[in-house]
């Protein structure tokens, strides 16, 4: 790694310049306290994921702490999966959702992450390892992380039924999604998923146009309306898909939807402009609408939440110094600073205790314990998100994550589902 100073060259008078240069570089390495290797060969980790998780501050802080550079490759959720399957050498670290593992793992493009090399592996929340929050089992319909969390071996293509030494992904962020509403325009309490298709909001509703997530929101609505009770929303039969899509098509034909959305910013725009008053939404989108001074609630509903989780995976070809750097990044990520940063944005982090250590007690009480804010709650960039006295939508971590009804999923009948979803869009 470190290039040895060859005696023949140092002895020759001609290479005087080179010798001084090498001396300087060595001296610089010593002065800054970094190992010589960092000054000599910079390690760059190519981080494939969605833009929502790729925060510049996280990359900068990591570089300042370790000297390793993170190069973000932002693409959409679907494209992350597509690249993992079709171009596994185009990244060194992948940040993907657990549900897409059903597509990626059988290709053998990801390696099992050795938990012996992850310092805080045993502190990862039980939601991932056992499917429990605070000792209580949560809904596991769909691709719940615990079903795809472990591999049988480091190079295995099969999911293990019980915990092993090898993890598929190390969780980064996760959350429980629900409907976003404009309380100022609706002017009455909303407490059920069925309100999404309530004719009262004709022409003012929206659902997201990402089939594998949209179908789950639709299933929550179908159950809430009392039309049908699915044995497993996350793995529908063809008949159940037909029924769900038919419900959506009927609503669409009746003019229920103002628009569908696919991009995070579209949902912000629809809500902020008042074109839509109730819709499927993601937590940071709600925050963004609110930061424009417009009332928007991430409404908890009695049927529960649709949860999702993302995590870091390593391509199976990753080796040597890059592999060490990737493990270093994952360890750094679980070490607290990044976790605290994400928690302040309304996400949840994988290892709660390390994040708690890096947050102020009043912040922890607001974001995690569901208590009224003691002081103004600020976003990582310093802007005020919530005035003192307010309580977070949905309350505490245990209330929110404990209220999970189902997870984002890839179904066995996925092809059929996509085909039917296209029919809904065309109807």
């Amino acid at each position: 790694m470190t290039e040895p100073i060859r005696p023949a060259e140092t002895a020759a008078p001609k290479s005087e310049n080179r010798r001084t240069l090498i001396k300087c570089v060595t001296a610089a390495g010593v002065v800054t306290g970094f190992p010589y290797v960092h000054a000599q060969e910079k390690v760059v980790l190519r981080y494939l994921g969605t833009a929502v998780n790729q925060d510049k501050a996280i990359g900068d802080k990591f570089k300042a702490d370790t000297g390793i550079e993170i190069q973000y490759i932002p693409v959409t959720t679907d494209d992350v999966t597509k690249r993992a399957v079709t171009a596994p050498n185009s990244f060194d670290l992948i940040d993907t959702e657990y549900f897409s593992l059903k597509k990626i793992i059988p290709t053998g493009n990801l390696m099992g992450i050795d938990t012996k090399r992850i310092k805080n592996a045993d502190k990862i929340t039980s939601l991932f390892t056992k499917g429990e929050v605070n000792g209580k089992k949560v809904g596991d319909q769909g691709t719940a992380p615990k079903k795809v969390m472990f591999l049988e071996g480091g190079k295995s293509k099969a999911f293990a039924k019980s915990p092993t030494q090898y993890m598929t992904l190390i969780p980064t962020t996760y959350n429980a999604d629900t409907l976003g509403i404009r309380p100022d325009l609706i002017k009455r309490p909303i407490d059920s998923w069925k309100e999404l298709l309530n004719p009262e909001f004709k022409g003012k509703a929206s659902i997201l146009n990402i089939p594998s997530i949209g179908i789950m929101d639709a299933a929550m609505v179908v159950e809430a309306m009392g039309i049908y009770k699915y044995p497993d929303k996350g793995n529908m039969t063809k008949k159940e898909i037909d029924l769900t899509i038919k419900t959506l098509i009927d609503a669409k034909k009746a003019g229920q939807f103002r628009s569908l959305w696919k991009d995070f910013n579209e949902s912000v725009n629809l809500m902020a402009s008042g074109e839509v008053v109730i819709q499927s939404m993601w937590s940071p989108a709600v925050t963004k609408v609110r930061s424009q001074g417009i009332a928007c609630t991430y409404q908890p509903l009695k049927e529960g939440y649709r949860a999702w989780a993302a995590g870091f995976g390593l391509p199976s070809t990753l080796a040597g110094k890059k592999q060490d750097a990737a493990y270093e990044f994952i360890n750094w990520f679980l070490d607290g600073w990044a976790g605290a940063y994400l928690n302040r944005q309304g996400y949840y982090s994988a290892v709660l205790e390390t994040a708690q250590a890096k947050m102020e007690p009043y912040e922890w009480a607001y974001w995690m314990e569901g208590k009224p804010a003691e002081k103004d709650i600020k976003a990582p960039d310093g802007s005020v998100l919530e005035k003192a006295g307010k309580v977070r939508d949905g309350g505490s971590y245990n209330d929110r994550m404990g209220g999970i009804a189902c997870w984002n999923a890839v179904m066995d009948e996925n092809n059929y589902m996509v085909q039917k979803w296209n029919e809904f869009v065309a109807a």
Binding site: T76, D78, D79, T81, K82, V85, T86, K102, K103, I104, P106, T107, G203, N209, P211, S212, K252, F257, R258, S259, L260, W261, K262, N265, E266, N269, S273, G274, E275, V410, N414, N415, V418, Q419, W421, N422, E423, V425, A426
Partner: protein
């Protein structure tokens, strides 16, 4: 002149081959080869995560599943009809608008500086990114947008007009706004090459303004109209971003269907769809070139 032209198309002349060679190679490797691959993949099989080389018609069969019924059209036929409808509407509007603008630029603006300036004005829609441009329609056409506020303020309507945004109307509007330029340029180009003495001759022979337009200008602009039409039709047939955003994602388009399929790794079906779309567009272009012999006109 005759001799020069003949020597250029002499089949065995080496310089001609050398000149055409580089571009032919680019075409071969970046157009013909990928196209052949797409056709090949459209007959492959696939599962959740890999393509399985095979020769199966099932992708095509799936696309046309249930399409034999006449009363209840299948998704594919409905999607193509909807795309064709936009294609027709946009073509008609851009043709009329583009012809009018080109006519104005070619015959009413004398100075070439002013012509250049006005051309630059025509490219303004392309100065911003696609997404920003389309998102900015919302504050204009939306329920609480400028137009609705204006109409309500003027007392012309008492509640906001809903069909201004996320409707067929808004899709056509956005497409026309974008693609009229593709009609203006070729038509303007062929108009500039019309011999002005022909117009004088028409007037001397007693033709009215409309008669000159219809019997002299339109026939002589045919090649420009055709090229512009090919541009507009091929672009609109493949467009899915504009239709998606302006239609509130609720209006299907062939391109959108293909995009959804590729993002779910259903490449063979997407390829089959692309082959069908390509065949359809080629047929339209073939029909258009039947109407005008483009090589002779140029």
């Amino acid at each position: 002149m005759e001799r020069v032209r003949r020597s250029l198309i002499e089949p065995n002349s080496l310089p001609a081959w050398v000149q055409a060679g580089p571009f032919a190679l680019v075409f071969l490797f970046f157009f013909i080869v990928p196209l052949v691959l797409i056709v090949a993949v459209s007959f492959w099989d696939f599962n959740e995560y890999e393509l399985l080389p095979a020769f199966t018609p099932k992708n095509y069969l799936q696309i046309f599943e249930g399409c034999s019924k006449v009363d209840d059209l299948c998704t594919t036929v409905r999607t193509y009809l909807s795309t064709l409808k936009f294609c027709g509407l946009v073509w008609l509007v851009t043709l009329v608008l583009g012809f009018a603008v080109a006519y104005f630029l070619a015959f009413h603006i004398r100075s070439s500086n002013t012509q250049t300036l006005l051309f630059i004005v025509c490219t303004i829609p392309f100065w911003t990114s696609n997404v920003i441009r389309m998102i900015s329609w919302v504050p204009l056409l939306g329920r609480n947008g400028l137009i609705n506020k204006g109409l309500i303020g003027a007392g012309l309507v008492d509640k906001p007009i809903e069909w201004l945004l996320f409707s067929d109307f808004s899709v056509v509007l956005a497409l026309v706004h974008l693609y009229t330029l593709f009609m203006i340029v070729p038509i303007f180009n062929s108009m500039m090459r019309i011999d002005r003495s022909l117009l004088e001759a028409a007037r001397d022979a007693g033709a009215s303004g409309w008669q000159t337009l219809w019997n002299v200008v339109v026939p002589l602009s045919r090649s420009g109209i055709l090229i512009g039409s090919i541009f507009v039709i091929t672009i609109v047939m493949g467009d899915f971003v504009t239709i998606g955003v302006m239609g509130g994602q609720q209006i299907a388009s062939v391109g959108k269907m293909i995009q959804v399929q590729t993002s779910y790794l259903q490449f063979p079906i997407a390829a089959a769809n692309a082959v069908i779309l390509l065949a359809l567009v080629l047929m339209i272009i073939w029909a258009l070139t039947r109407l005008v012999d483009i090589r002779r006109e140029l």
